[in-house]
């Protein structure tokens, strides 16, 4: 179980963090969903039935205001609605709010609300509910991580009348609507919110197509249809109540078991399909796949420039060129994952293919570079040495990383050893790894950053992100410790212009600078991968956070 779930957890968290920071940008489409064959054709949607959905990680709290981790929004998407929705093109559409205006100074947002919406506990949705929700998120006792990142600017909400609310911010915030479109800021019943935090965690009340019936920890969450539902999002394929009677949201951490359960017909949909199961899934006529590559900074190992040996660009290049990534992708990932060689995934806007082969595997050049950099001596077992110091690379590995990603790094370890690197993969539990990372105690940090904008480069590489997000800690987002005024200038300039050509130019330059600095070993783009039973139709990926939506889903039995 430790396997697949952490790749997921990491990705989901990062998605969350990335999105608000990207708000200034126009949101472009999520790379098109690739649907596979084997999808049984049926006459049309059928109402009724229970869908069993299996996922790898259990939410820590069903109220996504609290804490704020991806598994929470995955399930919250089924029972919470948001003020606004976002389509695949990144356009903001009305949902619970019918329309909105922003004041001249950009600090007061006026929302007009739908009048026919009710929470599943019978409470009416109105302006007071909006105020209760935003206040709840901003309240430190909620222990929301979202509050700090997403609505730090929030001051208060004024209730003008039942269906008009004015939200006051302390400064202009262009990304506010995009933030509101996320499940993390879903609207909950104000009556339910009055309960203690941990009680609300167990059974939050929303206005969505389903409602939470039961949460059996470590096992399953049971959701039932909300028959009164008439206010589906504009992105949905139908209106009215959901087709499914019930959803059983099952927690099956072990990837192989999850896939076996799907094959055995115990569950209807699984997410986090492990790479090793992908070929059998493709060959199984009873299954179909739903996959989407995610844009952003692909899965990578970021080199820490703040200490030796990676302070020296020659050593960095040598290390990057020592890693045989295509070899790993073809073995552990069974060739199902495409290569992402540059700092941006190919599906990211303004992606520049030029950088794709910048750091290709080239052990001969790596050796040359190391010789140049003075790492000429060797220990008995072939590790390079300079001034008596062996060429060691320490990589903390979370105990929860999947077998695939571990193997990928073991293969990097093996190929890098051939050029004289002693790569030390240090297993530790997640809390310990977090602690080390916050103290810059690593040579390579394994991670990725998903967002649908090239502005991710600013988060990952600009000097603005060298510090921790909070005064008490947390991990700096610029994991390389890279600081280049020239790069900062270009990447900030790209935020100011709306001219696509100009932006393309600037982002291409930025990608080239970063690639030439050899700051990361990039491997493959992150992706959403679901396997579904042939009987299941119309499962959607909700564009705002790329989470599963089962509102449209139906089962042909």
């Amino acid at each position: 179980m430790v396997s697949a779930f952490f790749v997921w957890s990491l990705r989901r968290k990062m998605t969350r963090r990335a999105v608000p920071l990207a708000m200034a940008m126009s949101l472009l489409s999520v790379a098109g969903c690739r649907q596979h064959k084997n999808h049984k054709e049926a006459t049309g949607p059928v109402s009724g039935g229970t869908l069993v959905y299996a996922t790898d990680r259990e939410p820590v709290c069903l109220d996504p205001h609290v804490h704020g981790d991806m598994p929470q929004v995955f399930v919250a998407e089924q029972f919470l609605d948001s003020l606004v929705a976002m389509d695949k093109g990144g356009k903001i559409l009305p949902w619970l709010a019918t329309d909105w205006t922003v004041s001249e100074d950009g600090r007061a947002w006026t929302f007009h609300l739908r009048r026919d919406v009710a929470f599943t506990d019978g409470t009416a949705f109105n302006a007071a509910a909006v105020r209760a929700n935003l206040d709840h998120i901003a309240n430190p006792h909620t222990l929301s991580s979202t509050a700090g990142g997403y609505i730090k600017q929030y001051v208060k909400t004024d209730v003008i009348d039942d269906y008009t609310a004015v939200v006051h911010l302390d400064r202009p915030y262009a990304a506010f609507l995009e933030v509101l479109a996320q499940g993390f800021l879903g609207m909950e019943s104000p009556v339910a919110l009055l309960r203690p935090r941990d009680e609300n965690c167990q059974s939050p009340v929303g206005s969505g197509p389903f409602r939470v019936v039961h949460w059996d920890r470590q096992n399953e969450i049971v959701l039932e249809r909300n028959p009164a539902y008439r206010w589906g999002p504009p992105t949905a394929r139908h209106t009215g109540a959901a087709w499914l009677d019930r959803i059983v949201w099952r927690i099956i951490p072990e990837a192989s078991v999850r896939f076996a359960s799907l094959q055995a017909g115990e569950v209807d949909v699984i997410d986090s399909l492990p790479p090793e199961a992908e070929t059998p899934a493709q060959h199984n006529p009873d299954l179909w796949l739903l996959k989407a590559d995610l844009p952003g900074n692909p899965t990578n190992g970021t080199l820490n420039l703040r200490r030796e040996p990676f302070g020296d660009i020659r050593v960095r290049e040598a290390f990057v060129r020592s890693a045989d990534i295509p070899g790993a992708l073809s073995s552990v990932f069974f060739g199902h994952y495409r290569r992402a060689g540059g700092p941006l995934s190919p599906s990211t806007p303004f992606y520049s293919p030029e950088t794709e082969h910048h750091g290709d595997y080239d052990p001969d050049r790596a050796r040359l570079l190391l010789d140049e950099a003075g790492w000429t001596a060797r220990t008995a077992d072939g590790i390079r040495v300079r001034n008596g110091v062996p060429l060691q690379v320490h990589i903390p590995m979370r105990s929860s990383l999947s077998a695939s990603i571990r193997t990928l790094w073991e293969q990097v370890q093996a190929t890098a050893r051939a050029t004289g690197f002693d790569v030390i993969l240090e297993n530790a539990d997640d809390t310990t790894v977090n602690d080390r990372e916050s103290r810059w105690d690593y040579d390579v940090r394994v991670g990725y950053w998903n967002t649908n904008t090239a502005d991710v480069l600013r988060i990952v590489f600009s000097s603005a992100f060298l510090g921790p997000p909070g005064p008490q800690g947390g991990i700096h987002q610029n994991a390389a410790g890279y600081s280049d005024p020239g790069f900062d200038r270009i990447i900030n300039a790209a935020l100011l212009t709306t001219d696509p050509e100009e932006r393309q130019k600037l982002y291409t330059q930025a990608q080239e600078i970063v690639a030439a600095a050899f700051l990361q070993i990039t491997t493959y783009p992150q992706s959403t991968r679901m396997a579904l039973s042939g009987a299941v139709h119309d499962v959607r990926i909700e564009p705002s956070l790329n989470v599963t939506s089962l509102y449209d889903a139906w089962i042909a039995r």
Binding site: S256, E276, S330, S331, V332, A403, T407, A414, N427
Partner: protein
């Protein structure tokens, strides 16, 4: 004063594995032979295989058992047989160090409790109760939270975690020997306590240690594999059986051999040490009675 013949004939070695008379010695011989091979593999693995256990060959990944790879290959195309052979060193080292640690700890406690007077005896008994109230594996898991992962923390966690169980046995043994007739006889001869401890109590109380130690190696390897299995084991790319198992389990549906063979090595080692331990016990018992 009933007849001695019958019981004498019936007396058999408790728990001895190969009860068929003619096969009696086959088990211990096989076990000894295996352990010899294991030690040889730990010292000089290249005697058994010329394949580099670390050499990756992505194109050969997930090959089933065949002539060229009798145990198949793993997800990086490494030869599983070579890794199992090279893993002997880490696993054996782990087993021996952990049991040594556990027994040393147990011995110190037992000596303090057994020879340090009434208060020490009570305290040690209580301490053992406390440690014993948390199952070894759970205790070891708790320790790994503090110690982090890797071979040394693993040894410490397993060693200390299982010390209580061994402590109880050794402590009981020290107490039993302390009350033995020959200790009293030595007292009656006018020997000083220090001499009695050195000449009688220590050797007799620790006689079972060699048996426990032998059997414990296998048990420790199994336990450490449990922790390795949870992702707290040796650093990659080291070939250690528990870590190999841990890696293999994600691919069990596609490549059973990655799980099966390292596990088999653990099981056979455990069996061999058990059989060897029992044979040793028999030898020692046979020598004295």
């Amino acid at each position: 004063m009933t007849d001695m013949i019958l019981p004498a004939l019936r007396r058999r070695v408790p728990g001895f594995i190969m009860p068929v008379l003619t096969l009696r010695h086959v088990g211990p011989l096989l076990a000894a032979f295996y352990l010899l091979l294991l030690v040889a593999a730990a010292i000089a693995p290249t005697l058994f295989t010329h394949i580099d256990p670390m050499a990756i060959e992505p194109r050969d990944a997930f090959q089933g058992p065949s002539l060229s790879h009798p145990f198949g290959t793993d997800q990086s195309g490494r030869d599983v047989l070579a890794r199992v052979i090279h893993g002997a060193r880490q696993s054996l080292l782990l087993g021996i160090s952990a049991i040594t640690l556990a027994l040393s700890f147990a011995t110190v406690l037992a000596l303090v409790g057994g020879l340090g007077g009434r208060l020490a005896e009570k305290s040690v008994r209580w301490l053992l109760d406390v440690m014993f109230s948390i199952p070894s594996l759970v205790l070891a898991l708790l320790f790994t939270a503090t110690l982090g992962s890797g071979i040394v923390p693993l040894i410490v966690a397993i060693g200390v975690g299982s010390a209580a169980g061994y402590g109880r046995i050794v402590f009981g043994q020290v107490l039993a020997v302390r009350r033995a007739g020959y200790v009293e006889a030595a007292r009656a001869l006018g020997h000083a306590p220090a001499g009695i401890i050195v000449r009688h109590i220590l050797p007799n109380a620790f006689r079972p240690l060699i048996v426990m130690g032998t059997m414990g190696i296998g048990q420790m390897i199994v336990w450490s594999a449990s922790l390795s299995f949870l992702g707290l084991g040796a650093r990659p790319p080291a070939a250690e059986w528990g870590t190999m198992l841990s890696m293999g389990r994600d691919f069990v549906a596609e490549a059973w051999w990655m799980t099966f063979f390292p596990g088999l090595a653990i099981v056979v080692t455990m069996l061999a040490t058990t059989i060897a331990g029992r044979s040793l016990q028999r030898l020692i018992e046979g020598r004295v009675s």
